[in-house]
Amino acid sequence: MAKKNLNYVQPPPARRPLKIYAFDPMLGRTPENRITIDIPNERLAPGPQGERVEVIDFDGANQFYYPPVNLEDPAILMQNGLEPTESDPRFHQQMVYAVAMKVIENFDIALGRRINFTRGRLRLFPHAFQGANAFYDRSLLGVLFGYFRADKIDPGPNLPGQTVFTCLSHDIIAHEVTHALVDRLRRFFMEPSNHDVSAFHEGFSDIVAIFQHFSFPAILRRVIQETRGDLRSPTEMINLACEFGYATGAGQALRSAVEPDAKPDPKLYQTITEPHERGAILVAAVFDAFFTTYQRRIQDLIRIATGGTGRLPEGDLHPDLVNRIAAEATRTSQTVLTMCIRAFDYLPPVDVTFGDYLRALVTADFELNPTDDYGLRAAMIESFRSRGIYADNVSSLAEDSLLLTRPHGLEPIHIERNLAMLLMEKTQEFSRAPSALRKEAAMKKSPTFKPSAQVGGFAEAAPAEEAFEIGLGGAISGMLTGYARRNAADLGLNPNTTKYPVRVLGFHPVFRISPRGQLLVELVAQFSQRDGERRDEFGGVSLRGGTTLVAAADGTVRYVAAKPLPSKDYKGPWKREAELRERRQTGFVRECDRNDAALAWTSEGNYKRRIAASMNFSAIHSGVLR
């Protein structure tokens, strides 16, 4: 790295390959489960420390640091990163970094913009504590991974009492980083206001972890050969956190994307309230739609390969056929994953339900791909329906009634000069030199933990600048607030904006290329309102309202996803919707209380914020992997 002849400087490669365990060390004993994935290249300081993510290997239980890996070291670069091993903490750092970046990249691609953590870098702590758990901690803006000894009596295929690292499980890393990203995109999804809110956080994180499995081509090919294309069969593809499950004595993987008997049961959505189990219903619904679409897409291949009979012969499949099927599976899974993430822009900012998610999925996909060529959207609607998940205030399950509300005659958003500037700036962000971005990121200091920001009052304690998706100029935010005030009743916001001030939670442009090659530009704004006087009534969670508004590039409002606060001044359906929400939140608190034996033994302070505390991802519900 001494003198450089500028004529021969090699531009930095776009991708960086790194070795990881495809699933975890337990399955990683088979050599093919140790793989190399590639992620966007960026300059890394020891840690690794990148633009958006940094790995800090501090062991809280033993109170020491482990030496940070330098992935720019030629000796390491030369071999695509360190070899997978359990005994070198630096490999752990590498794997955590690689998987986290893969997840973030998936979000970037699907959302059509670069997702920055506004408060600084996301911090990953691969060996933060001792315990069979891992979780995202908002106050630290970090993901903390635990390590523990495997069950002595029933360790499954692990060594009894061996150390198990949650940071070496692809699924656990992906799951927790997704929590951080979801929190980044929808901060109020950490406030449980109905049974679906926490479950959505969990289910969505599992979806991302599962669908990333399908981006490992060699493994996918092997599984397709083994299962003869039936991806629903119980393999590592559809199981989550095998090692964790066995090591904790459960005798199976932690969770699976398929129901035990592969049959949807609408009763589950009515009765199950535990967030992970309820989230599993969402995962099963999405996976079911994936599987249906995938089967439809490989039908022709199978017919071609079998001379039109469609019945595969005995014995191994032809490797070419396996390759083609694997390609279809990868493509379909990427489509589904992108669709799932993209739906975020169409979700209301508060009080989400699975039904809202279905509407967002349908709307987002409809915008991009109106003809639904492979029937993915139809499959999605069907698999949600068969699990008893419906949307509120929707007259039928037809696609057009599931689309979000399209307001008519609403005042368009005025695109003024600085907004146009903003659009320009954003389009350039992707192609800007990484070093420039890195400098920007370095200027933001990571937040330091403040005890007051823990559990409960966190939402209110958030500093004002965090409220914005991007550094909005005062002019834009003022323009949006004024717009929301003028049109409150139509947007599903309480028109009494003096008592319930409207906050702009976020505003950002979205750029996408439709399958037909058009550039789609949309503007997404989120507003929220809060009835803070009633926090005690809901166990420390405010009654919140909010609206997500999607506008075309010319400012015409295309869709509104609203969660209105109660008010007498609404016209039309908002009034009923608001009352329904209020009732649902009251019922939710009551149901939580009667199931929560801990309340009897708790202190007064904890009692007051009991519902808010239930969503703290940390140790409260340990052993179930938050």
Partner: protein
């Protein structure tokens, strides 16, 4: 019966004159028992009473301390149109005696006898209360008799009174009823029991190890106190083996043990031969998967493992070779260095899981509670033990049980009045206005929400006849009779 009543009156007068000195105590007990027996066959009785007394004395000595006087408080029912319910003031626990009139011999049912170790009656230990009960059920022939002993679930605060089996060995019992989860022959029951006691054991071990660790490191007193409180909570769920031994093997008269409810639903409403005139409805715990799941400490296996690991790691668990360790002070990557507040936060992260496990366990054992309704004439007496939402939910939605629940005329308030053992729906939608209710409880500063004020108020709004064993109110509502520090009782029309 009439002789019984008259003799009882005598006995009360006798009690009043009984000297209180310790040396006199035993003979006083004997005397009162003898007097109670009246004129009929006093000789036989006397010997019986003597035996009882002697044995009591014998058993007491090893437990140490001066023996307090046991003065029987007879259980006569005013007439054959009433049933009597007596709630002993054990402290934070349960002990209820039910007396059903009968023309030959009143029948007695004891529902639980135990107290939480951290909340006993301020005046009387649980063994004293147990002796009191034995004295109270001693009949005119000098033999203590209980027709049915019910153990709703194996928590200390419901069974600890049975720990000293010598107190109970002279008591003639016809039947002992326990939840099906106590059946020694049922494999599912055994699995549930074992999971629960194993969790309790591991948790206790983990807590002790942690106490030791923290004690050695000179940790702050608040943390240690918190651990001690959790430990008390767990103590409640330990096997309580001695008490369960009494229930399974103790008493005299070779009682029949029943593990309830039966698997066949149609058998769960029945008229026990030993309780003429009484129909018993067994409303829980059901054997449905969902209810059973509530009995497993949630995610039981993970919790178990967590505790196992914690207990095993008395020594520090270091996952990597010492070559990799870098002391905080020697870590020279300033960019990656954590702020002291962050270090503190991360240090605390693995902590504090014990309370969650302890509570889950407490709930799981409560979930095994036998939920029983006695139908006696017009009286419908509901004893739900400490049943949790799972059992309640099943009962409230059961076409056979709901109409009965609507008729409840007496309600034993579940789990010392906590919020999670009496559903709001039951109080607001199911319970009528004409009922009495009793909460056996003792308010303690650390468990602020037991009993739950809102629940007690909601019940009082419906009916005035609601009392607590610890008597926070200056006067009891009409119809209740209280013997300070011993019991409160009432009679219901049948």
């Amino acid at each position: 019966m009439s002789t019984n009543e008259t003799s009882a009156a005598k006995a009360t007068t006798a009690n009043k004159t009984t000297p209180n000195s310790a040396s006199f105590k035993m003979s006083a007990a004997k005397k009162s028992a003898a007097k109670k027996s009246g004129s009929k066959k006093s000789g036989a009785k006397k010997t019986g009473a003597k035996k009882t007394g002697a044995k009591k004395g014998g058993s007491k000595k090893p437990s140490g301390g001066a023996k307090p006087p046991v003065t029987p408080h007879p259980l006569k029912v005013s007439d054959r149109k009433h049933v009597k319910i007596r709630m002993y003031n054990v402290g934070f626990g349960d002990a209820f005696l039910l007396v059903v009139p009968h023309k030959e011999r009143d029948r007695k049912v004891l529902v639980d006898c135990g107290v939480h170790s951290s909340g006993p009656n301020v005046k009387h230990s649980i063994s004293e209360m147990a002796r009191q009960i034995v004295a109270d059920v001693t009949e005119t022939d000098g033999v203590p008799r209980i027709d049915v002993v019910i153990c709703t679930h194996r928590h200390q605060d419901h069974v600890s009174g049975f720990r000293d089996s010598s107190i109970w060995e002279t008591v003639e019992v016809a039947e002992v009823w326990m939840p099906w989860t106590e059946d020694p022959k049922d494999p599912e029951a055994r699995r549930i029991r074992e999971t629960q006691s194993k969790t309790a054991k591991h948790l206790t071990a983990a807590l002790s190890a942690k106490q030791k660790r923290l004690g050695a490191s000179g940790a702050n007193a608040r943390q240690l106190a918190a651990l001690a409180e959790i430990k008390e909570l767990v103590d409640n769920s330990l096997t309580n083996a001695e008490a369960m031994f009494t229930l399974h093997e103790g008493f005299t008269g070779d009682p029949r043990r029943r593990y309830l409810p039966y698997k066949t639903h149609s058998r769960n409403s029945f008229k026990p031969r030993v309780l003429p005139g009484v129909t018993v409805h067994l409303m829980g715990p059901s054997r449905d998967f969902e209810v059973i799941r509530d009995m497993d400490p949630p995610k039981g296996k993970s919790y178990l493992r967590l505790m196992d690991a914690a207990a095993a790691t008395d020594e520090q668990h270091t996952p990597f070779h010492s070559n990799w360790w870098i002391k905080i002070s020697e870590f020279n990557f300033p960019e990656l260095r954590l702020a002291p507040a962050d270090v503190e936060r991360i240090k605390d992260v693995g902590e504090g899981q014990e309370l969650a496990v302890a509570v889950a366990l407490e709930k799981a054992v409560n979930g095994t509670s036998l939920m029983i309704m006695f139908q006696i004439g017009k009286a419908y007496l509901l004893f739900p033990g400490d049943a949790q939402w799972g059992t309640w939910n099943a009962a409230l939605n059961h076409p056979d049980w709901r109409p009965l629940l609507e008729r409840t005329t007496f309600y034993k308030i579940g789990h010392h009045g906590s919020h999670n053992a009496t559903p709001v729906e039951f109080v607001e939608e199911v319970l009528g206005k004409d009922f009495s209710a009793m909460a056996s409880t003792r308010h303690m500063a650390k468990w602020k929400f037991i009993p739950k004020t809102e629940l007690m108020e909601a019940l009082r709004k419906k009916s005035k006849s609601v009392v607590r064993s610890d008597k926070p109110d200056p006067t009891d509502p009409p119809g209740f009779k209280r013997e300070p520090d011993l019991f409160v009782e009432t009679e219901l029309k049948i």
